[in-house]
Each structure stands twice: as C-alpha cells, then as structure tokens.
C-alpha cells in the first residue's frame, strides 16, 4: 500500500516559514498535483516527502510507516527533477542503471531491467549515448526510465516539464498520464502551471504562502473555489472580480452593477467581492443587463474576448463565440449566468454567500 499521509508538516528556514502546516492524505495510485505560485511551499513540501528536507515538525507517512527518520533512498520513491539531473558523464544505460548499481544488483539483472525500462519509455536505441546527445524529450524519457527501473511505489515530480517547449510539453503530459495508468503507482506532481494541474490531476492541491488552500478534483477546484486566490489562479483568462458591498435591500452593489442575492442571506453593509468567469458573462440581446462600452477585442480563433467598460475600476471580460458581431466602441448590455456567480468575503477572500 502506498498511501501517503502528511500530518502537520511545518518547515522553517531561520525566520522564514516555507511551509506553515500541511495536512494531506493521498490514496494509493492517485495522481495528485501540488500547484501554486512560486514560493508557495509546494517544492518544499515535496522535498519533505522525499526526505531531502527534514520537517521542522510534523510527520510523513508512506504506506503504513512514519518515514521521518528514513533516508530518501530507503523510502521506495522515484523522483524526477526540474533539471532532470541526468549524470552527464555516464551513458544513458548507466544513468538508468545507477539506482540498481547502488544496491548491488547483479549485472545480468541490471541489464534485463534497464532494457525493460528503456523499452517501456521507447528509448532503447539511445542506451549507448550520453545525455548531452539526447533531445529534450528523449532526456525526459531517460529520466523517467531511471525512476521506473527501481519500481518504486511513489513517483515524485518537481516541475519536470518546465524546461520543454510548448509542443513537447503537451506530448509529455499525455506520456505521463499513460505511464501512471500502466504503473498504477502513486504520483505526486508539483507545478506552477495551472493548465498542467487541470489536465493531469486526479486531485489538485492548491497551495499559497505555505498553506493548502483547497484540495479537490480539477473541476471542483475550478467551479467551486474555496477562496479568491484559488478562483483567480485557475482559468485563462482569469476570473472577473468586482468589489462591492451588500446594500440595505440585501442586494449586491458595485458601481455599475447591481445584483439580487436572493436566498443567500446576505448581511447588509458587509463588503463582498463578486466573481464570475469570462465564459459565464453574457452579452444581453434585449434590454436586460447592465450597460457597458466595448473597449477592446481579442480574437482567439474559436472565441473572442470582449473587454467591457461598465464604470467600475476594471473591465469585465466576456468570452463569446467568434461569430458574434461585436465591435470596439459598441454600446452593449451584459449579464452573468446566475448559477455561476460566486462571492468572496471582502476582507478575508474566503468564499461567502453560498
């Protein structure tokens, strides 16, 4: 069983707190992605999981044992680093074989297993080459072969795709998912790229400033964000935010926008922020909606982004079908899809008014 439990993990470096308390349970065979901006603590958390960093407090449990005291090499892990960390002076074969040679696996077994791993990653023809002679994608697969050859229970990945170009990145994403399915091992993957997180994860762990902000499957993190940070992190273009307050009559009020809040039990006078994704902003056909002027258009091909100046401090961005007839300078009215509007507390950013 390769269940992973992180309990109360804290890591401080002198006066800097990198990880301020992380509790997480990862099931056997899950593909979990830790995502967040730089400095949010995701890599440090991964390092504590691997053992390269020792937690200031808290426990790391792999399988059914607490592994805090164990050397990284004893934890039955495989890890792929951001810079791949392939040994430049060794051939691809020896790179893959390194972990086996450390454990003094007999030569015949080494050759068989390296071959197996190389074939699984489709790099068998490269075995006699050096890493410098491999392309970006090939080097990636060498790094993966190196991890799978020891058949670990848990795979850790620290932004492995960030050094690849866009096309290669997409290919490797599929490759990794395929690998995960065929191995059935637990994958813990760290990235700052929200698109990567969305496409690859069984569950996403969103982190910011050393804490877990939200844990959940991609779609729920996307459509049911726990706070403003998570909401703004996912989705391109980002979610629209409108700061306002609850009026005396129990409605949301902001310059240019008024919205009935209905059954959400608002507290009059409280400050709230409204959030709505561009794809849920509608350009109204008839007289309903709030007035605005189109200030900018960004055609994306299949869709078009329409920037609407409605009188608030920032434009509201609407994502409309490319066929729609809109031009800069048009005066239009816009509404929101009512079931897709979310609210956040004006002060804390936490989700409010569910």
């Amino acid at each position: 069983m390769a269940r992973i439990v992180l309990r109360g993990l804290v890591k401080t470096f002198g006066r800097i707190t990198a990880v301020a308390g992380v509790d997480l349970e990862i099931g056997d065979g899950e593909f979990v992605v830790l995502v967040g901006p730089s400095g949010c603590g995701k890599t440090t958390t991964l390092n504590m999981l691997s053992g390269l960093d020792t937690p200031t407090s808290g426990e790391v449990v792999i399988g059914d044992r607490v592994v805090n005291e164990l050397e990284p090499g004893e934890r039955d892990l495989g890890m792929v680093f951001q810079d791949l960390a392939l040994f430049p002076h060794l051939t691809v074969f020896e790179n893959i074989a390194f972990g086996l040679r450390v454990k003094r696996v007999p030569d015949a077994a080494v050759r068989a297993r390296v071959r197996e791993a190389a074939e699984a990653m489709r790099i068998a023809p490269l075995l006699d080459k050096r890493p410098a002679q491999c392309s970006g994608g090939e080097a990636q697969r060498v790094a993966l072969a190196r991890t799978i050859v020891t058949k670990p229970a848990v795979f850790l990945m620290d932004e492995p795709l960030s050094s690849l170009d866009a096309k290669l990145r997409v290919e490797m994403r599929t490759e990794l998912k395929r690998l995960h399915r065929s191995l059935g091992a637990t994958f813990v993957y760290v990235t700052h790229d929200q698109a990567e997180a969305m496409t690859m994860a069984d569950r996403i762990v969103v982190m910011d400033r050393g804490r877990v902000q939200q844990v959940g499957p991609p779609l729920s993190v996307y459509s049911d964000p726990a706070n403003r940070f998570v909401a703004g992190f996912f989705g391109v273009p980002a979610m629209n935010f409108v700061d306002g307050e609850v009026g005396a009559g129990g409605q949301f009020q902001a310059p240019g926008i008024t919205l009935e809040l209905g059954a959400r039990a608002p507290v009059p006078g409280s400050r709230v922020a409204l959030g709505v994704r561009p794809e849920h902003v509608r350009l109204a056909g008839d007289g309903a909606g709030w007035p605005a002027a189109v200030s900018l258009l960004e055609p994306l091909g299949d869709e078009t982004l329409v920037f609407l100046d409605y009188g608030g401090p920032a434009s509201v961005v609407a994502k409309v079908d490319a066929e729609a007839k809109v031009a800069v300078g048009d005066r239009r009215r816009f509404t929101f899809r009512p079931d897709r509007v979310v609210f956040f507390d004006g002060a804390t950013g936490e989700r409010a008014l569910r």
Partner: protein
C-alpha cells in the same frame, strides 16, 4: 576606406608578429646560449646561433661528480650539479601541490555544498594571497629557525628545526597555494549541479559513493588544471625558497641564483642550460593548460 581596410589586417599582423618576436627572443637566446661553448658566450658581435653547438654545458650541469677545473674557479661542485636541485624541486613541488590539491578540494566541496565559512569565504581566502611574500618570509624564517626549535627543545628536549627542510618549505608551499586551489576548485564544483547529488541520494547512494561516482568524475579535469597551475607556481617560487632553504635543500630557482653570485665570471652556458631545464617543462605544461586558463579567467573574472 577600401585601401585602409585592406591594409589594416596586415598592419595588425605585423604588430602582433613583432610582439611575438619580442616575446620569444629571450627564450630563444637562452636556449641558444645553452648550446654554446664558453668562448661564444660573450663574443662580439654576439652569435645568434652557436657557431659550434655543444652539449658541454648540459653535461656539466647533469654530472654527478666534480667537474674539470678548466671552468670552475671558486665554484663548488654542488653548484654545477643540477640533480640534487632537480630532485628537491620535483619532490617539494609535487608533494606540496598534491597536498594542497587534496585539502583544498575537500574544503571547496564543503564551501560549495554547505556554505562553510560564510558567504564571502571565496573572496576572503584570496586576501591571503595579497600579502607580499617578503612580509611572511621573515616571520616564517624566525619561526622555523628559532621559535620552533626553541619550543621543541623546551617541551621535548629535542631540537627540531624546520629551516632548510623539505617539510618546512613544503608546508609553506601548500599553504600559499591553498587559496588558489580553493578558488579554482570552488568554481569547478559549483558547476556540478547539486541536484545530481540529490538524485543519487534518492536512489540510495551515500555521500561518499556520490562524491566518488558523480562529483569527482565531473571535476577531474578541473583538478588536473588546478594541479598543473599550482605546480607551476611552486616550481617558479624563488623568494621563500631563497629565504628558507639552502644548502641542504635547494630548489632550482635558488640554484640558478647561486650561479650569479657564487661565481666571479658569469657562467652563462651552464646557467642557460639550467634555465632551459627549469623553463621548458613549465612552458610546455602551461601551453597544455592555457586553454583552460583562458576559459577559467573569462568565467571567473567576468562572471564574478
């Protein structure tokens, strides 16, 4: 403009060749003199190439025994015999360079990976080199010749002096080249990404195993360059050797100097022979590593 353009490369090459000639001339002259017999040394007009080339000087210099009287006047035969000095130079330079390399690499690893000594250690260590050797030569002389024997006599009853010993000069050579070793090896070790060691650790390798199989192979060529560099420095070192050794221990530079002051008429021939013996290996070694020197300099200096 076109005329200028066409002439310019020629002008440049002319200037460069002129300087190259200036550079090579003294060395050429020395090698040429080393093959000249006594009557040609100070002939006028000077002979650029020996009219009667001879190996006599080299034979003189490389004999083990006392030499024929016709040339030596007030010189002792030790002055002619290069073998002891050669042996002394080789032994001291090799051992000191090796010791410095090993110790310095060890420390460089610690500084690179653990930040031992603080952020500015690499700069602080260079300040040691900035002290003029004369300023430490004299204290060390007194230390070796007086203070240490005094102390050991008091403590152990036996008089141990480091003056004029292999150990004395060797230790000092080790210490004076350590800053260079640390500086150079630091840059080489820094070039080996730490993630390589992390990867090895994750695959179960211990630190010693990792250093042996991952780090050392990658800095091996750097170690060779560093060794050659400090070997050349030690080989050329004159002031400290002059102050702290002789006659038991004599390095080649000191020997050469002895020719100057010990003999009335300057014996240019044997001097040239010794000079050639001292210089040629070093120049050859230097040419071998010069590619690395240039690279190291540009990275070290500019990236600094």
């Amino acid at each position: 403009m076109t005329v200028r353009r066409r002439l310019a490369p020629w002008g440049r090459h002319a200037a460069l060749v002129a300087w190259a000639a200036l550079v090579l001339f003294p060395i050429f002259w020395m090698i040429s003199t080393s093959f000249k017999d006594a009557w040609e040394w100070v002939a006028w007009p000077p002979h650029w190439l020996p009219h009667e080339p001879t190996l006599h000087n080299y034979r003189q210099v490389f004999t083990f025994t006392e030499l024929g009287r016709e040339l030596s006047r007030s010189a002792t035969d030790q002055v002619f015999n290069i073998w002891p000095a050669l042996r002394d130079s080789v032994v001291i330079c090799s051992l000191a360079s090796l010791a410095s390399l090993l110790l310095g690499t060890f420390l460089a690893y610690a500084v690179s990976r653990f930040g031992v000594g603080g952020k500015n250690f690499r700069y602080a260590i260079l300040t040691i080199r900035m002290v003029p050797p004369i300023v430490i030569a004299i204290p060390i002389l007194m230390y070796y010749a007086i203070m240490i024997p005094h102390t050991t006599t008091v403590l152990f009853g036996a008089r141990l002096s480091l003056f004029d010993t292999y150990l004395g000069l060797g230790l000092l050579y080790t210490v004076t080249t350590l800053p260079f070793v640390i500086w150079m090896m630091l840059s080489f070790i820094d070039d080996v990404p730490y993630t390589l060691e992390h990867a090895a650790r994750l695959m179960g390798a211990g630190r010693v195993y990792t250093i042996r199989r991952v780090v050392l192979p990658l800095v091996a060529s750097g170690m060779v360059v560093t060794f050659l560099f400090i070997f050349i420095l030690n080989w050329s070192e004159f002031l400290l050797a002059l102050t702290l050794t002789h006659p038991n221990v004599t390095t080649l530079p000191v020997l050469l100097n002895k020719f100057q002051s010990a003999v009335e008429g300057r014996l240019y021939g044997p001097q040239a022979a010794i000079g050639t013996v001292i210089t040629v290996p070093v120049v050859v070694l230097g040419i071998l590593i010069q590619k690395h020197l240039v690279k190291g300099f540009s990275f070290g200096m500019i990236r600094q």
